[in-house]
Structure formats: C-alpha cells, structure tokens
C-alpha cells in the first residue's frame, strides 16, 4: 500500500535494494519474501525498482563493459637533483656514487678510465718491485774503462775511492764517455751478523787500515779530473772492514 501515491507505508526500502542487489542477510531475505506474498504494494514497488535497476544494468553491459580502460598518463615533474649543503660532508663512496650517477656518458667513461689507469699503475709497480732487488742489496760492478782514461794501479782492497786520472787533450770527452757506461747490477745476499770468529781480527783490521793509508791520492793538479776508480775488483780478495767484522768484534769483546 502506498501513501501519497509515492511512498510505501511498509518500511522495506532498505530491504528492497538489499534484496535486489543480493546483499541482504538470510533472515532479511526470508522476511521480505514472506512479506511480498501478503503486500501487493511492496510487490509493485519491488517490480518497478527492479525494472529501473535492470535498465541501468543493461546500459552498463551494452555500452561500458567492453570498453578498454584508458591509459592514464601523469606528467611527472622531473626529479630534483640532490643539493649538497656547504657543511655537509660526503664520504668516498658517496662521491664515487655521485660520480657515476652524473648525467651523461662522458663523465662515466672518464671515471672508469681513471680507475683503470690507477689499477694498472699499481699492478705495474707491484710487478717491478718483485723483479728488481731493493737498493740496499745492490752493488755496482765496475764499468768498462774508456780507452781514453789512463788508470793508475790501485790496491785491490779499495772500493769507491777516487783515482787521479790524466786526461791529455780531451777534457770534456770523459763526461760523454762516462755517461755511456753501462752499470750492470747483480744481487747479493744481505749481510748477516754471525758468531763465526775470524782468526785474529784485530790484526786484520790493522792491515786494512795500513793499506787504506797507502792509497791516499797525490795532490790533484789543475789539469786533472777525478773519475771513479775502475779497478779489477775481486770480491774474495777484499779484506776491507765490514759491518759483520764490527759485530764480531763486539761479540768477541762482550764474551
């Protein structure tokens, strides 16, 4: 039954829409179905509401259901680069990441090149250190004597002393020739202090001192030039004072 021709006096408005859209509870559904059998106005109301609902449902099915969802394009703003403040310190990794994150491939290529060069240089340095002896383990063999130099006979026990050499006519030639002298190096074992005693070391030291005194060079004339001694050095004949001798002496003195 309707009042004023529009509104149903039965309070089933909510139940009708819930029933039409199948969202009513079991109890509501049972009560409403039993009510429809008794109330003709609610039956008419239910029919008209269902008809309207079906019209909208049909419209949706016919014109919308098959439409493709539009592709939504959002004009995103470009991302702002991070601004580093003056007082903000960045670490090594941050700097490296910032270097590689820079826009443009030249920056990346340059950074990669720098790193490759650094690694290569470090590798070469390491290899060279492995092949060559360190400076403390090296002695320099005597270079070949240029033909223009006349060498005095020097004691064999003296190494590295200055000899007086007369250069007759070509005073500048010696520099050019000496610069071409190749000085091959050879490796020797580092000197170690041992407890091995030499026979009468004090006497030996005295002999070395005397020999050294005899090698004093005469006064250098103005026309003479000084060049390194180039003698026929034989290591086994070397009786000069060595560091090990000092150690041996101390050990011997100390007991």
């Amino acid at each position: 039954m309707l009042n004023n021709g529009n509104k149903s006096i039965c309070k089933f408005e909510d139940v009708i829409v819930s029933y039409i859209y199948d969202e009513s509870s079991v109890a509501e559904r049972r009560d409403f179905e039993s009510h429809l059998l008794e109330c003709s106005s609610c039956t008419y109301e239910f029919a008209s509401i269902s008809s309207a609902r079906y019209s909208v449902f049909e419209w949706h099915k016919e014109e919308f259901a098959d439409l493709a969802t539009p592709q939504i394009v959002i004009p995103y703003a470009p991302k702002k680069p991070k601004v580093i403040e003056e007082n903000e310190s960045i670490g090594f990794l941050d700097g490296l990441r910032g270097l590689f994150s820079g826009s443009g491939w030249p920056v990346t290529v340059a950074a990669a090149l720098i790193i490759c060069l650094g690694v290569g240089f470090a590798a070469l340095t390491f290899l060279e250190r492995g092949e060559q002896p360190i400076a403390s383990n090296v002695i320099v063999d005597e270079p070949t004597i240029p033909s223009i130099v006349t060498q005095e006979k020097l004691p064999d026990t003296v190494r590295g002393d200055i000899a007086t050499v007369e250069i007759p006519d070509a005073p500048n030639t010696i520099e050019t020739s000496a610069s071409n002298i190749m000085t091959p190096v050879r490796e020797i074992q580092p000197v170690k202090a041992t407890r091995k005693r030499r026979s009468n070391p004090s006497t030996q030291n005295k002999e070395v001192t005397a020999q050294t005194r005899n090698t004093e060079t005469p006064p250098v004339a103005p026309q003479l030039r000084q060049v390194p001694v180039l003698s026929n050095y034989v290591e086994s004949d070397d009786k000069s004072l060595r560091l090990t001798d000092l150690f041996d002496q101390e050990l011997g003195d100390g007991g």
């Binding site: 819930s18 859209y21 014109e63 439409l67 539009p70 004009p75 703003a77």
Partner: protein, 219 residues
Amino acid sequence: MCAEGVSHHLCCFELLFSCENGGYHEWMFINLTDEQLVELAVLENPDAFGEIVRRWERKIFALCFGMLGREDDARDAAQEAFIAAYRNIAKFRGEAKVSSWLHRIAVNQCLTTKRRQKSRAEDFLDDANGEPDRTFVASPHLSPARTTEKAERMTLVRQAVAALPSDLRQVIVMKEFEEMTFQEISETLELPLSTVKSRLYTALKQLKMKLERTPVEVI
C-alpha cells in the same frame, strides 16, 4: 631523518629500495595499502603513484562514464582527475580513505565537465539535452527494429541517469558501474549504510519514473 608526516618504516622502505633511476618494481607495492602508497608518492616517487593509478583507473573511469555518459568525456575526466590527484597529493592528510579522496576528485571533475558541456551547448545551440549524435552498431543477433529500440532505450536511460541529482547519480553509478558493495560505498562516501541504501532506493525510484514518462515507441 624521516619527512614530516611520513611513517618511519616507509621512510626506511624508501631508502632501501630507491635507486638512481627511480626504479621500483611492481612487486614492492603489492602488499602496500593505498595510504602507504600515497605516503611514498608524497616523497616524489612516481612509481608509487603509478600503482595507485593502476588500482583505481578502471573504477574511476567507470564512475566518470556513469556520471557523464560518454566514453570520450569519461576518458578525459579520468585523466584530469588523476592529474589533479597527483598535483594535490601533498595535501592528502590521511583523514579519509584514498578511495574516497579519489572519488571526490573524480566527481568534482565530472561536475566541472558537465558545466562546461552545458555552457558549450548553450553557446552553440546544440540539441535540447546536449546529447550529441551517436553511432549505433547493429547487432547480428537482433533485427534492425530491435536494434533501434535498444539504442533508443539506452539513450533514454543515459538521459534519465544524467538528469538525476548528482548525489543520487553518484550512488547508482558506484553500485552499477563500479560494482561496489553498500559497505564500500558507505566507506567511500563516508555516509551511514542506511543513507546509502535510501539514496539508492530514491535514485532507482526516480529513474523508473523518468523512464515511464518517456516510453519508447517501437515501429
């Protein structure tokens, strides 16, 4: 340091998964709620807002179609609605659900489009209802007479829905086009459940009356 209004765990999520190209993957967002995605989008993460768009674009498009009745207008309105949402995402305070917020923006966009159409129709002396010409494709299963009848009925339904008040039209569109439950409509519109049902009842009743006034004559 977490940004103001951004929960700490989301801030950590941002730091953990952000990369230089802004590359997020879809699987990262699957378990996030709309509200969490908005928090990430506020941090200028376009992928997070892209996930919001992916979740809601169909429903917003359906809402716009139901409100406007035309596919082209609905596409434009949906596009404009999402752009407006992205531009104003920093103003989203989390007091309402993201779905409610998006629906409000979309409904406002549809009303704006309606007003523009109305003024345009008045300017160019369009037909009385502002209904442009449409092309109907005949169904192979229906006779030409039935096809014509159906097309005319669709036009009447569209016009009847368009003539409803916006609050009633919104409820009926959300129910039929977005296929939302009463509870979802209630939460989206932030209305009591009984109010939603009452509005839908009134909308269908008025729709029925409008359709009965203009019966379709079958030739």
